[in-house]
Amino acid sequence: MTKLSKAFKLGVIACALAASAAASTASYAADVTIGALFPLSGPNASYGDIFGSGANLAAEHINADNLLGGKLSIQYEDSQALPQQGVIGMNKLVNVQKVPYVLSAFTGVSKAISTIATRTRTVAVNGGGVGPDLAELGQYFWNIIPLANYEVRAIIPYLVNERKMKNFVLVYVDDPLGQAIRKELEGALPPAGGKLVEALSVPATAQQFGGIAARVRAANPDVIYVASYGSQQSQIVKQFRDNGIKQPFASYTAFSIPEINAQPEAAGSMYTSQNIDWNSQDPVTKRFVDDYKKKYNKMPTAYIANYYNAVRMFGLLAQQLIKKGQPVTGENLLKQRVETKTFDLVGGKVSFAENGTVTMPMQINEIDGKGGKVLSTSAK
């Protein structure tokens, strides 16, 4: 009898556990996880933190709005900004976590994972790299950041016509990004009335620019366009000023990082970024800026907005799929993106070109040591 009662009790407990497990599964049935492949260790780890702050805020907003009917979470994997680690992380996200959407950063990692993205029909979204070769990584690889060639096209008319800067010197990293910027400047400057008087390439790892500075001084340009990234661009700016170069710098989104904005030698530099009016009353932008300032006690940057937008765009696409009763898969997300003409993101309404790269209005910013100001906005 005792044995029977014990067995009965065990049975009841097992049933209760099974029921509670089933209930908990049901209550989280609509939970969605997306992936993020950012450098979380190594020399580029600070970028992972910057990008992640935007992505996390977007997930918080999506969850607060109950956009998906369940909880959205982001599974992070450390790419160390290296292709091999990126592929390992991507494989885990796609095959173990089964995520339909992965945030990517850094050109090497993005290129390395693009094959897996295409093969597994998983959407990978870049919000950091701007090399034009990123537009050619297949239909499952999207860029939510305008690529460098768009940025050059936006700044040339402003510098030549409004600032009367005719003679340009380009200092560029000799990689696909730098080469694309050089090609764009060579092609677009003469018709606009400007001239590329000198183009000086630097290795990606170089940190000494005294020799280059001497050549820039000899060329005596009206403006120096810097096509570099990471800590190198701060060194270029500092060492050029130390070498007595007074001309202003021009650049692309890479200048939007806090280190450059806080650098006294960079004051007066102009750079392009996607058009985001941080004081805009547009509800999406205002909420992003206000909440970011509240949470981190500082102004967001374009990179942060990009990864916020990448996650927000996933939320909008997934919401539409859920409404239609379709599963949130990479394939359906792609179809839905093609179907959806515009998205309400930070900065306003944006659309995508056929190659999966965002097209949006650009703006020209000036570094003034006080958080920056917008000089001009241009059409997309």
Binding site: P39, L40, P83
Partner: protein, 298 residues
């Protein structure tokens, strides 16, 4: 899950080939090279170039990669004949820097910093090895012969000569050994076998750029050998498996903050290396006592 495990296992095989070949010169010949990633890179770029411009047949690609890496390894063998110990480490560091610069700047062949994308899958008798399980089999088919070849070589008189040079170059010379030839051959063999890993890597990733062949990779390979056990046949494999599994294991520890896992992992690596060197300097598979202590005891 299976695909993830296959992916990890494939990369483990590739890295194990590299660790075994580095151990061949480091653990047995006493040549401490921190330029091993360069031969890995030479193999990868040669394989990618041949696959994209001629044929992706592995019976053509792998031999070409091996020959190119073997020929270039003479550049490393030259300083190895002239200097030893820390002087050779400095010389190999120079070669590593030089190699990375060539990979970055020789755009017409390596694609520069942008790298080479669109490398076709490896072909065996016209069959494209694109399936992950098939590729793992291919990687194993390369790992096992490399392991066997090094094992056989080390058990031969050539292996004994290597150990003699490692323990005392002067004594080996006094016994009439052709030190220069033995050292050169060991470097060439190591580089040629490392190129096999390079070719596999290029085929598997479908994309290569210089970031995979930097100093960090050479240091990681050295860590794999040291942790596993220098001068042992299985040590490099154990070191490779451990160092490649750890990141995955850490990422499954749900109680750790996701964005801090990378930093925690680096701290764990550092601590493990320090503790291992204090308590088990011969590595996991190797002897618990340092070689000097053993020699003294003998």
């Amino acid at each position: 899950m299976l695909a993830y495990l296959l992916n990890l296992a494939t990369l483990m095989c590739i890295n194990a080939v590299l660790a075994i070949t580095l151990n061949f010169i480091m653990g047995y010949a006493g040549i401490f090279s921190i330029a091993h990633a360069i031969f890995f890179g030479v193999g990868a770029y040669s394989a990618a170039w041949v696959a994209m411009n001629a044929s992706a047949n592995i019976f053509l690609v792998i031999p070409v990669a091996m020959v190119v890496a073997g020929a270039l390894s003479l550049v490393l063998a030259l300083p190895a004949l002239r200097v030893r110990g820390e002087y050779f480490v400095a010389a190999s560091l120079g070669l590593q820097v030089l190699g990375v610069t060539v990979f970055s700047e020789w755009k017409s062949v390596t694609g520069g910093l942008g790298g080479m994308i669109g490398i076709p899958p490896a072909e065996i008798f016209g069959h494209a090895v694109a399936d992950p399980a098939q590729f793992l089999l291919l990687a194993l088919c390369c790992l096992v012969p490399v392991l066997l070849a090094t094992g056989v070589l080390l058990r031969s008189s050539f292996g004994r000569n290597l150990k003699a040079i490692r323990d005392s170059e002067t004594a080996a010379y006094a016994f009439g050994k052709n030190v220069a030839l033995i050292k050169t051959m060991s470097v060439v063999i190591s580089a040629m076998l490392a190129a096999v890993a390079g070719a596999l890597y290029a085929f598997y990733m479908g994309f290569i750029n210089v970031e995979s062949f930097m100093l960090d990779t050479s240091v990681l390979l050295m860590a794999m050998v040291i942790i596993g056990g220098t001068g042992t046949l299985l040590g490099p494999i154990v070191g490779t498996v451990l160092l490649m599994l750890l990141p995955g294991v850490f990422s499954y520890m749900s109680f750790l903050p996701q964005t801090e896992i990378g930093s925690i992992q680096q701290i764990a690596y550092g601590l493990a290396m320090v503790l291992l060197m204090i308590f088990r300097p011969g590595g996991i598979v190797g002897s618990g006592k340092p070689r000097a202590a053993k020699e003294k005891a003998a």
